[in-house]
Structures are given as C-alpha cells and as structure tokens.
C-alpha cells in the first residue's frame, strides 16, 4: 500500500485525540518515542507491520491512517502550485503543509477551486460574445449598413457633378440604409439589454429565480387555494423547477414563495382582485381598505393572475421591481417596454430610487422609457424597513416599485419624466445622473 507522508500527521492526531502519550504508544509497538516522533512529523515513512501495529494501538483501521480527504486536498494544492509556477511553491513539502495546517490549506484549496470556477465563467461569457451567432449577425448588419451609408454619403458630398438620376438613387439608398441601421441598432441594444431568448445560461441565482417566476407568470394558484400544506406546496414548486439549478437559487425561490404566502394570507385573492379591478392603480386606497402595508399591496398587484380582454388577448399586467438599500435589484417582474438591465443598477431617474431617499413616503411618478417607440408608465414606489428594529442601528431598507403600463384607450395625464434602462444603452442627452458614457451616439 503506498504510504502518504500525511500518515504521520494522522497518527499524531489520533493519539492526541485518545489522550495517549507518545512514549506509551511507542513502547506498545516496540519503537522508541523519538522514532515515533519522527513518524508523527512525517519525517519517516511507515508501512507494513509497524503501520498495522500502530493502527491497532490507536484502535483505528490502518486504511484510515493512510488514506483520507487529505489526498484530495494535496492534489488540489499541487494543482494550485502548478497554475502559478512563479510563486515557487515548495511542492515537495505540500503534504507536510497540509498535515500541519489543514485549515489554511483547505482555504487555499477552496480559493483555487473558486478561481477555476470563475475562470470557467469568464471563458463561457467570452465564448458566448465571440461566437454568439445572433450578436455576430447583428454587429455585421450594423457595420455593413454603416459602410453603405458612409460610402454613399461620401459620393454625395464630394461636390462633383452627379447625374440627377444617380443622385436620386443614392439618396434613396441612404434613406433605406438609415432606416435599416436604426432597426439593427435598436435590435442590438434590445438584445444586449435583455439577453436572448435562446438558451441563455443563468449567470447568477437571481436569474434562475427570474426564470422560475416567469415560468409561473409570477402567480401561484397552489399557494392561493385553501392554504393547506403550504410548506409542502412550496417544496414541490421549488424542487419541480428546471430553472432552479443551484442551491442558492432554491433558497431565494423558497424565501420569495414564503413571502408570497404571507401576502396572499393578508390579501386574499378574490377580495383583492375585486377591489383592484374597481380602483385599478389606487394602491394607497387598497392599503387603507385592507389595512395592509403599501409594499405588500404593490407586490400583490404584480402577482395577480393574467387577464384577457374581450377579444381574448392577454392584457399587459403590471411590472414590479424590488431593490435593496444599496439600490441593487433583488426582484424583477418585467413589463413590456420598460427595459431592465440584465446586471447592475437601473436608471437613477426611476421613482424607485427617489423613494429610497425618502423611506416611508410613497412616491409616484409618470415616466417615459426611451427607445424607438417610447412608452409611458406610472410607477408607484415605497421604501420600507424590514427586520426587527434595534436601537442605534440603521434600519434595513428595501424599495418596492409597481410599474403600470399606459392603457392606450385611457392615457395617463401629465408630463412624464424621461428615463432610461442603464446608462450604457441610454440615449438621454445631457443627463446629470449619467454614470458612464452611452454606446448610443444620440447621447453624446
């Protein structure tokens, strides 16, 4: 049996665990205490009869002294050393290191594995951007269109005489290409902003949660009807979802569903739905009527079953965003036309962020989301505290914002504030809140 140099460390660990003196063990197996000391410090390799005798003296299976989790640890440490050769790690002493400092070496190994995971993620993302056919096709189209425009514009602006027929032809080409460029650029922005419907690999647990909630259209009849075995219902919903691949995502989903149940208990579906239809959008009135916090009313309004109009077409439901005190979006129910960034923070002009500065004060705001076809939304937001209040400790805050799309038959009155999605793809010019330049030339 090949003996690992860590065997000595395990012998020592076992002896100390039993509280037996080195001399006593040594005497029992017929060796000197000094020799056992060398063995225990991995300075002498052992095997065969002596190993079996020591194992017997320590009441342990010899295999447990020669093999163990440390083998994997040592393997990982060796891998880590190979990846960074310039560090000059003393690989010949790796077993000594692992034996003497199991905690620290486990930390090194864990960090090494984490680095490998992150490298894989970066590689996957890079590969996706390099080989994503949709992205490549979009960029190719944009560049081809720009080429045609540049070349044609150059001909027209050279000042040389051009036959009127050709001139008209080039002007027509310019118009065509400009329109095409506008479409392709908008398509590209939409794609980069919202990702693709083609098998997008979730990158963070929140995206797995978003997929799960979207699958259910953010409404869970099983949690509305009867309130029997809700824990079991939640567990089945979570375990039965193909979107929830990671433990972290399942934890997030379970927490969200538990909150959903609390909301549903406080605001039973039938009664709430009836009142919401009676005073659509008047969340404050409903909060007063049901004596419930406004944030709960906003969440409930975003999780109602989908409705259809008289022609049987699905009616656009409201969207919902929840952000924490740092402004990070923790929950999203998208609504068509209100572009949300896939990562990072949203637009500082969203009423959600105004509410963040005024905890407890409801904020409403009519906004116009920029884009090729701007759309207007009424946003209702409230920043609420959560968690048990503690003296002299700042409360934890989250903001809930309901996003109500404009009904073309009954447009919102008043002036709308112009907002965007994320600064990088926002065309708003002269925006004092801009965090970074936009890739859209309109914004320059």
């Amino acid at each position: 049996m090949p003996q690992s140099r860590l065997t000595g460390s395990r012998i020592r660990e076992r002896r100390l665990y039993l509280g037996v003196k080195q001399a006593a063990v040594a005497r029992g197996v017929g060796i000197s205490a000094a020799y056992l000391n060398l063995i225990e410090h991995n300075r002498r390799r052992i095997g065969g009869k002596l190993l079996n005798d020591l194992a017997k003296a320590l009441s342990v299976d010899p295999v447990q002294l020669t093999e163990g989790a440390e083998d994997a640890l040592v393997g990982t440490l060796r891998d880590a050393a190979v990846r960074v050769p310039q560090a000059g790690a003393e690989t010949e002493k790796v077993e000594d290191l692992a034996g003497r400092f199991p905690g620290w070496t486990s930390l090194i190994a864990a960090q090494h594995r984490r680095i490998e995971e992150l490298e894989l993620t970066v590689e996957t993302l890079t590969d996706r951007f390099t080989h994503d056919p949709q992205l490549a096709a979009s960029l190719h189209e944009v560049i081809s269109t720009v080429t045609a425009i540049r070349s044609t514009a150059s001909i027209l602006s050279e000042g040389q005489d051009i036959d009127p027929e050709w001139q008209a032809r080039f002007l027509r080409n310019m118009r065509e290409e400009s329109r095409r460029l506008s479409d392709s650029a908008q398509g590209l922005v939409d794609y980069l902003d919202t990702g693709t419907d083609l098998e997008t690999t979730p990158l963070v647990p929140q995206e797995e949660l978003a997929g799960f909630l979207s699958d259910h259209n953010h409404h869970f009849p099983a949690l509305e009807d009867g309130f029997l075995d809700l824990g079991g219902q939640i567990a089945r919903l979570v375990s039965g979802s193909e979107h929830l691949q990671t433990g972290e995502a399942r934890i997030l989903a379970k927490a969200w569903l538990e909150r959903y149940v609390e909301d549903a208990l406080a605001l039973p579906l039938d009664g709430f739905l009836q009142e919401w239809r009676r005073v659509p959008g008047d969340a404050a009135a409903l909060a007063g009527m049901f004596r419930q916090p406004l944030d709960r009313v906003l969440r409930r309004a975003a999780c109602l079953p989908g409705e259809k109009d008289a022609d049987g077409k699905s009616v656009r439901g409201p969207g919902l965003l929840i952000c924490d005190g740092a402004g990070a979006i923790t929950y999203r129910r998208p609504v068509s036309g209100f572009a949300l960034p896939r990562f990072g923070a949203g637009c500082p002009h969203w009423p959600m962020y105004h509410a963040l500065a005024r905890p407890g004060s409801p904020v409403s705001g009519l906004v116009e989301m920029g884009g090729r076809t701007p759309k207007r939304f009424l946003c209702l937001a409230i920043a609420s505290t959560f968690g048990a209040p503690r003296f002299d400790v700042a409360p934890l805050i989250e903001v809930t914002m309901l996003i109500l799309p404009e009904d073309e038959a009954a447009p919102f009155g008043g002036r709308a504030a112009k907002v965007g999605s994320s600064c990088r793809v926002c065309a708003l010019a002269d925006c004092a809140a801009r965090r970074e330049p936009s890739i859209l030339s309109d914004a320059q």
Partner: protein, 143 residues
C-alpha cells in the same frame, strides 16, 4: 442590380475623372446591394469596368468566366465564405496571381492573418473610405 454576374457598368453616365489608357476590369463580389452600388460607382468613375456578383457559391466560376484584372471580395457571403473562395482562386493556375482586395466587417487580428495566409493582397475592414478603396485598387493593379 441583380444577383447574376454581369458586365454592369454602373456609373457609366459620369465621366471618368482619371484617364486610363486601357480599361481595367474589376469584379466586385459582395452581397450588400447598396455597398455594391457605391463601390461600383466610384470605381466606374475612376475608369474601371465593373462587374458584380453576390453569391459565394458561384463566385469562383464568375471569376474564371470574367477573368477580371482585380477582385474585390467580401468575406461573409451567402453560400460560401470569402476565405474559401480565395483559397480556391490561389489554387487555380489562372487566378493564383489575381490581385485581391478583401473587405470584411471582422477586422480581428486572426481574420487578417487568415486572409494573409491564404494569399490576399490587401485586407480592408468595413467601414472603409471611398478614397482608400480607390487608392488600394490603383496600387494593386500597378504592383
């Protein structure tokens, strides 16, 4: 403009601004109609006789049939890539020395290197300037 190879002389109306003793023939293999039109116009005005072709699959046949003095070749074409076409042209005795200007929206180092390995004379990334195309074509034909 059609997808078929033709002796279309776009820009025949405008007078050439550069006198060319013997007209040079160029074949433009590109699938974007408005780019074809613009390139054809500027080359015609410069004294070139321009033919165009838009299909990658039949591009080599078009070159062999027309025997142009120079070729402008797009990389991303329907049916077949410009790289494959170039490779075939270099393998053919009659076209192995044909001056080729390659146009592409992909200007990465490895794209350029691939084109050079295959024997391109000049590699230009889109969007390009008209003057640049003209200068390059003149240089190619004079080389």
């Amino acid at each position: 403009m059609t997808d078929q190879t033709s002796d279309l002389k776009i820009g025949g109306d405008p007078e050439p601004t550069v006198a060319v003793t013997l007209p040079r023939h160029v074949l433009v293999i590109e699938d974007e109609p408005n780019i074809i039109e613009a390139i054809s116009f500027i080359l015609s005005r410069d004294g070139w006789v321009v033919a165009t072709h838009s299909n990658g699959e039949t591009a080599v046949e078009a070159v062999l049939k027309l025997r142009p003095d120079a070729l402008i070749l797009d990389v991303m074409l329907p049916g077949r890539s410009g790289y494959d076409i170039l490779q075939d042209l270099r393998a053919n005795e009659t076209t192995k020395d044909l001056p080729v200007l390659m146009l592409t929206a992909r200007g990465q180092k490895n794209d350029r290197e691939l084109a050079e390995r295959l024997g391109v004379n000049k590699f230009m990334t889109k969007p390009f300037s008209n003057a640049e195309v003209l200068e390059t074509m003149r240089a190619l034909i004079e080389a």
